[in-house]
C-alpha cells in the first residue's frame, strides 16, 4: 500500500510522542500560570532536585511498571483491560485487610508474601472474570472490565469507609498497617522501598517468558492471529482468560505493594487514575516488556512534574491527564499526512 511508505517506524513515533508531550507540558504551563519560568523549573527539574523528591518520583513509577506489564499482557492477547482502577483497588484492599488482621509480631517476610498474594488473587479473579466472559460468551472485555471495576470501586469505598474505617482518623481510611510489616525503605527519607526491585524483576521475568517459553509464544500467536491459533490447536479462550487474569493479578499486586509500602493503609480513592496511567505506559512501551521500564519512568516523571507544579504554582495536577492524552494520541498515530503535490 502507498500509505505504508509514509508510515513512521515505532522508534520515531515514541520519540515524537515523548518530545511532543514535553513541549505540550510547557505550553499548558505557559497558559495556566503567570510564573511561567519557575513553573517550568518545578515541572522539569524538581523531581531530580534532591534525594527526597527523586526517591518519591521513582517510588511512583513502581506501580506503573507492574500495572503497565499487566496492561501489556492483556494487549498481547488482543484484550483491552479497562478495569485497572478497580483491580488496583481490590488488590490494595485485600492486602490491607490481610496485613491488618495479622498479629503484631508476625514475620515481615511472611506478611509481605501473603499481602502480595492476596492482592494478586483479588485483582486476578476480577480480571479472569472478564476474560471468561470474553472467551466463552464473547462479551466485550473492554466494557465488562470497566463495569466490574465500577462495581468494585463502590464496594471498596464502602469497605474502607464502613467496616474497615479507622475510628481514630478524620480521613476516610483504614487503620495503619503496623510499621514492622512494611517493606523496608531505601533512599530515606523518600517513600521509595524495595518494591522497585520487584518491579524490575517482573519486567525481566516477563521479557524472558514471552521470548523463550511456549506459553509466551502461544500467547503471541493468539493475539496476532486468532484463527491460526485455533487451527494450531492452541486453546484460545483459555489463553484469553488467563491473559486477563494475569493482567488483573499484576494490577492487584501494584495496589498491594502500595499498601504494604509507602501508604501503609488503604485510603479511599487513593488509586484514582493509576489504572489509566498504566494504559499509557503500556502504549508507550509498544508491546515490549523492556519498553515498560522507560515508559513507566516517563509517565511517572510527568506525574511528579505535575505534582510539583501544583504545590509550587497552583496549577491543577490534572494537567497530567492532558499530557497523557497527548502522548496516547501521538503514539497511536501511525501515519502523518504530509501534503504532497498531487499529480495532474
Amino acid at each position: 500500500m502507498m500509505q505504508s511508505e509514509r508510515e513512521l517506524p515505532a522508534g520515531a513515533r515514541i520519540a515524537l510522542a515523548v518530545v511532543l508531550s514535553v513541549v505540550l507540558a510547557a505550553a499548558v504551563l505557559a497558559l495556566s500560570t503567570k510564573d511561567f519560568i519557575p513553573a517550568l523549573g518545578q515541572f522539569f527539574f524538581e523531581p531530580f532536585a534532591n534525594r527526597y523528591f527523586f526517591g518519591n518520583y521513582i517510588a511512583d513509577s513502581v506501580p506503573l511498571m507492574i500495572a503497565g506489564l499487566g496492561v501489556l499482557i492483556a494487549f498481547r492477547s488482543r484484550n483491552f483491560n479497562l478495569g485497572g482502577e478497580g483491580q488496583i483497588y481490590a488488590g490494595a484492599i485485600a492486602a490491607g485487610m490481610l496485613a491488618l488482621s495479622l498479629p503484631e509480631h508476625s514475620s515481615p517476610v511472611e506478611a509481605w508474601l501473603f499481602a502480595a498474594l492476596a492482592g494478586m488473587v483479588a485483582g486476578g479473579l476480577i480480571g479472569t472474570l472478564s476474560g471468561i466472559l470474553k472467551g466463552f460468551w464473547h462479551v466485550s472485555e473492554m466494557i465488562s472490565s470497566f463495569l466490574i471495576s465500577a462495581i468494585v470501586l463502590n464496594v471498596g469505598d464502602y469497605l474502607i469507609t464502613g467496616p474497615f474505617q479507622d475510628p481514630a482518623s478524620n480521613f476516610q481510611t483504614t487503620r495503619q498497617v503496623s510499621s514492622q510489616l512494611l517493606l523496608p525503605r531505601i533512599l530515606a527519607p523518600s517513600k521509595l522501598d524495595i518494591s522497585v526491585f520487584i518491579g524490575l524483576a517482573l519486567i525481566v521475568v516477563f521479557a524472558v517468558m514471552s521470548k523463550h517459553t511456549r506459553p509466551g509464544f502461544e500467547l503471541r500467536v493468539c493475539g496476532e492471529n486468532e484463527e491460526f491459533a485455533r487451527y494450531c490447536g492452541i486453546p484460545v479462550a483459555l489463553y484469553q482468560s488467563a491473559a486477563m487474569g494475569i493482567s488483573g493479578a499484576l494490577y492487584g499486586l501494584a495496589g498491594a505493594l502500595i499498601v504494604i509500602g509507602p501508604q501503609a493503609r488503604v485510603m479511599r480513592g487513593f488509586s484514582s487514575g493509576l489504572g489509566w496511567s498504566a494504559i499509557s505506559v503500556a502504549l508507550l512501551a509498544q508491546n515490549s516488556e523492556a519498553g515498560i521500564l522507560p515508559s513507566a519512568l516517563f509517565i511517572a516523571y510527568l506525574k511528579a512534574g505535575s505534582d510539583h507544579v501544583m504545590i509550587g504554582s497552583g496549577v491543577p495536577s490534572e494537567i497530567i491527564s492532558i499530557l497523557q492524552a497527548a502522548a496516547m494520541f501521538f503514539i497511536t498515530a501511525r501515519h502523518f499526512p504530509i501534503r504532497k503535490r498531487r499529480r495532474p
Binding site: V139, S144, F146, N154, L283, Q324, A325, P337
Partner: protein
C-alpha cells in the same frame, strides 16, 4: 405517607428523567457504531458537554446557549478524535481513551482557572421549561410520570425518533450504515467513506454533548466526574440495541430504572448507600452478559 402507587409514580418519573442523558449519548453513539467506528469516548465527551454547557449557560443565563456550547465542545472533541483516527490512522479505541483522559484534564484545569475550584461549581441558571402544560400534570399517575417532565426529556425522545428516521429513511443514514457494512462498496460507488466516518463521530459528539449538558442542568452544577460512568452505560445500551434506535432507547430506560431504583432504595434501606450506588453498573453488566449469552444460542 405515600401510597405504593405514588411511590411507583415517583420511581417511574425519575426513571424518565435519568434516561434523558443516556438517550442523548447512546443514540449519538449509535451513529458511530453503524458507521463501524464505535466511539468509546462518550464518557469524556459527556464531561465536555457538561462543563462547557454549564459554563456557557451560567455566563449567559440562557439554557439554549448553554446547550449549544456543550454540543460544540463535545463535537469538537469527537472531531479531534476523527482527525486522529481517520487522517493519522490512529487506533480508534486508544484515541477514545485519550479523549476520555483529555476531557478530565481540560475540564479540571479550566474549572480551576475560571471558577477557582476543582470541586463543585454551582451555576445560577434558569429553570428548565416543562414540556407540557401544567394541567396535564394533574392527570392521576400518568400526569406526574409523563407530563411533568422537562423540556430536555421531551427533546431526548424527539432525538430518538429523529435519529431513527435519519438512520432508516434518509440518504445520509443509509450511507452511514453502508460505510459500516462495506467500506469498499461505498468507495466504489464514488462516495468517500472517511466523510461518513467523520459525520458519524460528530453525531456521537453532538449526542454526548447534549447528554452531558442535561446532566449538568439536572443538578444546576458541574462536579468532577459528573458523568460517573454514564458514557460507558450508554455504550452498553448501544451494544444491546443491536443497531436499532428504539432498542437502544429501551436499554437506556432499563438502566435508568436501575438508577432510579437505587436512588429510591438509598433513601431508606439498611443497605449502605455506597453499595446501592453499584447497582446500576451491576444491572448493566448482567444485561450485557445476558444479551451475549442469548446471542450464542
Amino acid at each position: 405517607m405515600s401510597t405504593p402507587i405514588a411511590v411507583l409514580a415517583d420511581i417511574l418519573k425519575y426513571t424518565i428523567a435519568a434516561a434523558t442523558p443516556l438517550l442523548f449519548a447512546s443514540i449519538g453513539g449509535l451513529f458511530s457504531q453503524l458507521a463501524g467506528m464505535l466511539n468509546i469516548a462518550l464518557e469524556g465527551l459527556m464531561g465536555l458537554g457538561a462543563f462547557f454547557g454549564m459554563a456557557a449557560a451560567g455566563a449567559s443565563g440562557n439554557l439554549a446557549i448553554g446547550a449549544m456550547a456543550g454540543v460544540a465542545a463535545a463535537a469538537a472533541g469527537s472531531w479531534l478524535m476523527g482527525i486522529i483516527t481517520i487522517k493519522f490512522k490512529a487506533n480508534l479505541f486508544i484515541a477514545g481513551l485519550a479523549v476520555n483522559l483529555l476531557a478530565v484534564g481540560v475540564t479540571t484545569v479550566l474549572s480551576q482557572s475560571w471558577f477557582h475550584t476543582k470541586a463543585v461549581v454551582a451555576f445560577d441558571i434558569p429553570h428548565l421549561m416543562p414540556a407540557f402544560p401544567a394541567f396535564l400534570g394533574r392527570i392521576p399517575f400518568i400526569g406526574p410520570v409523563l407530563f411533568s417532565q422537562s423540556m430536555l426529556s421531551a427533546i431526548a425522545w424527539l432525538w430518538v425518533i429523529a435519529a431513527a428516521f435519519i438512520i432508516r429513511n434518509t440518504r445520509h443514514g443509509v450511507r452511514i450504515r453502508a460505510t459500516g457494512m462495506n467500506e469498499e462498496a461505498v468507495n466504489a460507488l464514488g462516495y468517500r467513506p472517511d466523510r461518513y466516518h467523520m459525520a458519524a463521530l460528530i453525531w456521537s459528539g453532538v449526542g454526548s454533548g447534549l447528554g452531558g449538558f442535561a446532566l449538568g442542568v439536572s443538578i444546576s452544577a458541574f462536579v468532577p466526574n459528573i458523568t460517573a460512568g454514564r458514557g460507558w452505560i450508554a455504550l452498553v445500551a448501544i451494544y444491546l440495541g443491536r443497531g436499532k434506535p428504539l432498542w437502544v432507547a429501551a436499554s437506556c430506560v432499563l438502566f435508568a430504572l436501575a438508577e432510579s431504583l437505587s436512588n429510591y432504595v438509598q433513601g431508606f434501606s439498611a443497605v449502605p448507600p455506597l453499595l446501592v450506588l453499584a447497582l446500576p453498573y451491576a444491572v448493566t453488566l448482567v444485561s450485557l452478559i445476558a444479551a451475549a449469552a442469548g446471542k450464542e444460542e
